[in-house]
């Protein structure tokens, strides 16, 4: 019950923070939908001129837009760096807000510290879920706009295989986003700083990006322990390949999936448990 109170209070407070909600949850879906629609309109305007000069027999017959497949594709692309960076705004606000506004003292007296931390994590998970659902809707909206602008028909192929791929990819993307945002939790608890909660995960993310580029120099191979434990982004990409199947999946070494899951779990539970342990002993002298 006290955990539910903590989640409810954190979520409610986040909802009142319209600036954070806009930038972390609404902005990316809105801008991606807007940019996609604008780019389709631009291409269409250029195409109209080019099409008129073509002989009738060479004019292309456009295929239908498969909204089911577009959902699957969108689910696989949810955890991109842009989405991570903007969701981080909301997460950092939740995780570091009570240090910034010196409001720990108002809530610590009536709940346990683990509950308060889990309440914050719960609120961020809900925010992430809403953000990703909006992104999926925006992606669908962009495909609908594409169909309408190019005069194409629509189909919705969402059979058992596609539904399974969609479910697994959406879940994997969600886990990857939450894993990344938990770095913000640890940074907030240790530094008590909103800026650190915002920038430390970004710095780690950029560092891991360059480490991934340099990994051949260290002799690391796709799917080996070093890569999977040090680079959660690579672990995520490897699991994505396995879910999508095909030729690429066949090249993944045996056992790599478990190593990738272990890597993602390490980077999810590690920061969370460290933050929890740190907060349990923390003197909230000022806050």
């Amino acid at each position: 019950m006290m955990l539910a109170d903590a989640i409810r209070a954190e979520t409610w407070r986040l909802l009142q923070n319209r600036t954070a909600m806009f930038w972390s949850v609404v902005f990316v879906p809105l801008i991606s939908l807007g940019l996609a629609t604008a780019s389709f309109l631009f291409i269409r305007s250029k195409m109209d001129g080019a099409m008129q000069t073509l002989p009738v027999e060479l004019k292309l017959t456009a295929s239908a837009v498969d909204l089911g497949q577009s959902l699957v594709d969108a689910a696989g692309g949810l955890a991109n760096p842009g989405v991570l960076a903007f969701l981080l705004i909301g997460a950092a606000t939740v995780f570091a807000g009570d240090y910034r506004w010196e409001t720990w003292r108002l809530i610590t007296a009536r709940n346990t510290r683990p509950n308060l931390i889990m309440g914050k994590v719960g609120a961020v998970k809900l925010m992430t879920l809403v953000g990703l659902i909006l992104l999926l809707l925006a992606s669908m909206g962009a495909d609908v706009a594409k169909g309408v602008i190019f005069g194409r028909s629509f189909t919705f192929g969402f059979g058992g295989e596609q539904a399974q791929a969609f479910g697994l990819l959406a879940l994997l993307s969600y886990v990857r986003v939450v894993q990344f945002l938990l770095l913000s939790l640890l940074a907030a608890m240790v530094t008590r700083s909103l800026l650190a909660a915002l920038f430390v995960p970004l710095v780690i993310g950029v560092g891991q990006f360059f480490l991934a580029k340099l990994s051949p120099l260290f002799g690391w191979q796709m799917g080996d322990w070093a890569t999977m434990l040090l680079l959660p982004g690579d672990a995520f990409e490897l699991l994505k390949v396995l879910i999508k199947g095909g030729m690429e999946a066949a090249l993944v070494p045996a056992g790599a999936a478990w190593r990738a899951i272990a890597g993602l779990a390490l980077w999810s539970f590690g920061p969370f448990l460290l933050a929890l342990a740190w907060f349990q002993r923390q003197d909230l002298s000022k806050e």
């Binding site: 019950m1 006290m2 109170d5 903590a6 409810r8 209070a9 409610w12 407070r13 009142q16 923070n17 319209r18 600036t19 807000g97 506004w101 010196e102 409001t103 720990w104 003292r105 108002l106 809530i107 610590t108 007296a109 009536r110 709940n111 346990t112 003197d283 909230l284 002298s285 806050e287």
Partner: protein, 299 residues
Amino acid sequence: MTSVIETSGLTKTYGPVRALDSLSLSIPRGGVYGVLGPNGAGKSTLFRILLGLIRPTAGEVRVMGQHTGDPAVTRRMGSMIETPRYPPYLTARQALRWLALAHGMGAEAETDRWLDRVGLSEAADRKVRGFSVGMMQRLGVAAALMTRPDLVILDEPTSGMDPPGIQEMRALIRSLADDDGVTIILASHQLLEVQRVCDRVAILNRGKLAAEGKVSDLTASGERLRLAATPLAKVMAVLGERGSVQDDAVMAAVPRAEAPALLRALIEQGVDIDEARWVGADLESVFMTETSSVEGGRP
């Protein structure tokens, strides 16, 4: 007299600084209890320990018979430590609503009633980022009381308030203690207010307990015999270190029982006594005496 708070040998150090130094204190249940002391005396540190925000370095503390930090106990407490702050994007009503949710309360929190009780009804829908210090204090008091606690800790509850606001706050505090049976512990630098509203006080100095007791007892112990007499030099010669000249009179620090003998001695010395009357000490003079008596004085 049952105690709501018991501390024994309570010590808190921040590096080389001893914020609390073996503090042993017993605060009775019911009434209004003042914790006084100059800046750095350890008041806020004591409050933070009572609320489980920080852990003591050594010693024991029990709140309502339980260890601090136990949510079962802290859920029965309300507090306002220093000037409270709230997320600036919230209105006063939203701030209380947020805290009510955090405390597992629904409509029973009666947020509007508490906003009204602290005089913030008209500002209920204003963002707290525009609030003055006094308004933040009022909101902090409303937040502390909203949960219907048995024990309320208020750190400088009237700081930044105008005189009518101070008067209203004093009435509210007294009414909570007298009518609702809430135990209130407050710290304030406004000693006249403390004298008016508190039943008992503890005076801390450099983390130690300098004095403790009923306000009436503490002020009575500081009473002086005011002697308007001539020549003052002869009076001072008789009193020695027990006397001090103030305006045109001598203030004699003597027990009431010794007063007749003193007056006889002065008359025998040829002193003309125009007036002799007892002057009660106020809390301020007791405070000044107690906080300047420890070596090193104010930190």
